[in-house]
Symmetry: C2
Amino acid sequence: MSSSAPRRALNISNINPHVKEAQYAVRGELAVRSEEYRAKLAKGDGRDLPFDTVIAANIGNPQQLDQKPITFFRQVASLLENPLLLEHEETFVKNLGYKSDVFERARWLLKEIKSVGAYSQSQGAPGIRESVAKYIERRDDYPASFKDIYLSNGASSGVNTLLHVICASEKTGIMVPIPQYPLYTATLSVLNARCVPYYLDESQAWGTSLDAIRTAYDKAISEGTDVKAIAIINPGNPTGASLPAEDIKAVLEFAASKSLVVIADEVYQTNVFIGSFISFKKALRELQAAHPGKYDSLELASLHSISKGMVGECGHRGGYFELVGFDEEVAQQIYKFISIQLCPPVIGQCIMELMVNPPKEGEPSYELYRKEYDGIFNGLKERAYALYEAFKQMEGVQCDEPQGSMYLFPTITLPPKAVEQAKKEGRSPDEFYCFRMLDATGICVVAGSGFGQKENTLHFRTTFLAPGTEWTGRIVKFHKEFLEEFK
Amino acid sequence: MSSSAPRRALNISNINPHVKEAQYAVRGELAVRSEEYRAKLAKGDGRDLPFDTVIAANIGNPQQLDQKPITFFRQVASLLENPLLLEHEETFVKNLGYKSDVFERARWLLKEIKSVGAYSQSQGAPGIRESVAKYIERRDDYPASFKDIYLSNGASSGVNTLLHVICASEKTGIMVPIPQYPLYTATLSVLNARCVPYYLDESQAWGTSLDAIRTAYDKAISEGTDVKAIAIINPGNPTGASLPAEDIKAVLEFAASKSLVVIADEVYQTNVFIGSFISFKKALRELQAAHPGKYDSLELASLHSISKGMVGECGHRGGYFELVGFDEEVAQQIYKFISIQLCPPVIGQCIMELMVNPPKEGEPSYELYRKEYDGIFNGLKERAYALYEAFKQMEGVQCDEPQGSMYLFPTITLPPKAVEQAKKEGRSPDEFYCFRMLDATGICVVAGSGFGQKENTLHFRTTFLAPGTEWTGRIVKFHKEFLEEFK
């Protein structure tokens, strides 16, 4: 056998074609180049760069952009990591600013999990799932059970699980809003299933349009697609839109009429600036109450995360999904599927518990928690509006008033010469614009094409997480110079 | 649309058939029943049960079975979770037993990651990957680069990534040892790819047999399978075998001659009682040095984890894989694939750094670290031998001397009446035996059929993690009674 010529087993032409097809611009070429700039600056050899900091506005990563974690959460986490410290409550209370409820919570969590270093049940520790169920009950005024809660490795792995179980063949279709967070399309590519895109209505502040949904569904059916589910991201990513009650109800009614699973990605449920968040679960329970029997078979999976909100604990990879109305045998298959990867990170599970069950009024840690929470909320809102105001000054840029999530998604109109130049460089015009912005300002955003957009429209998505306003000035200046260059 | 009859979208007959096919006995029906017993006992209503504790010997979960975490690791982790504590070094050193190197390491790690709550790069924080590369260099005496290291969410997600990229069609075959850890077969089921089983040689202490590998390969090729990779678990799971140098070399030579990717699952590399661990990377570099050019195209992916060894930090979900000899374009696809799930848990990445770069001789935390590490190693070895001695007493049970990993995998011979009874209950005989053991003793092990075994042989896998020897007595007593019942 030693005579055969050595060659590699794998090359770009013979690996999994569905992995190759997957696109995930949020961490694509732009992000990679921004990391190279960051490394260059860190090494001190970035003198040739026209900026001295890199700002990762491509991804909702609050703590990377100096958002401080909630003190109570991290105090509890420090004790969970080193339970030997529990014996020194007096030192911590007297000298280190810990309150008694920090110790109480850490002791309770350790009883539930045994150790942050031990695997939990595949679905997550039962006591933590109980806390999540109680949170949902308080939020919605309808019952929830820990048996229906599946803790996950961030909401992303929850989406991955649900799509894996639902996608039965290459004809299976999942309705996905466009623009969308590309986790959905990327996972469907990997699964070799069909994305059934439905367009959000930019003229209606990126709301859902029942007409658009119906048109997309009918087209898919006519093409032989077996449409099984509809995904909704509310508040929206990348759009930032916060859906009104009637949109939610319309989606549920449509899903019920067509026997579609509703996948409600609600990870931005506390990031709402206008109106208030309504969960799909609550809306469903209200529909069920109003029309007994009619909506009993509707299946809803609702996802949440510790990465967003005022928590911003992305690095801890915590999330959950709640199953409503699922067949027990299907739920068992979901359980088996997640078991193969053993369990979600246990400290992330604990942060989830803290997020859904924070200090209550009157408890020792409440005051600081409230102050920090409100401070982060108001800071995000202020920055969203500052960015919105900056966009208003920019020629050819249109942006809706901030409603929620962590993003703005302005429309941009680029001069024909810029579009030509983009073509020459083999890039879409919005991608070309974003690379130019990165090269000129050190600010990394994501081109609209990374999320999907209507033909002949261009956008970019930026987070509004970076502190200060200096960086918005950089964008305004870049945009002006860009237009001058290509006018 | 409201007139259509309500029905669920999903049922057991229309979900993803490949998810349904996947089998993962480690957390299957036995484990679920054992959790029910545990919950019953915790509630205080287990008086009808013939045991008062449940012992989860089904899974390598050391801290669930009272293994203490390494103090240095957790001290650093406590500071990472609450960096405000860094301002109180004096209090920690004077009153809480922390040494100065705990603070140094925590400060260094925080510089590398910014916050445990922030996403890292998809591949993991570069500084932590540098530490992993240095560890590999010390271990093997050959160079390693952080660019080839991919931190992962436990080794399981690394295996998932590699198989996703390699499996290009339903004809793709991956050679998997039998018996094996069922992550491999389960993931191949989900991917609708082919498992090409090769049998380990129980008569040679579960070593690899080149004949068996060749036979399995030839059979697969004759069936039209496109064999792309061979997985090896060393030290073995479930077998506990530690491979000698000649077996490793033979596998590498075979893989090179057939252009197969070698997937070396080396998560038990520090759990070796007999001989010493040889990495596939080192063996490959030696082959390459001895035969210039001949093995340059061989692709190797080597996996490691913080869950095993003397660390046992399963709940933190940390792992890595190193790619050797991979095509750059293929590596980029791997990068993109992992990006879709953003990044591995950051605190798990930090524990990985601590594992590969523990306190060195002369450093303040070294002495305690050494003592704890050796204590755990010796404890595991003692318990392995105690269990081995117990199996010797059991009629019809044969077991190899413990070599490594965390498991023993004895052969069991069951009386014909027991086999009949199993058939009546619709179970395989070994599964039947394991359920009886659980019901009688509260000890949960996994039937050999969950890992694969040669026809007409029966086994079970048990960890030797549970402290004390009382529980081994329970097994001996159960076995005796079981034989009496069915003789």
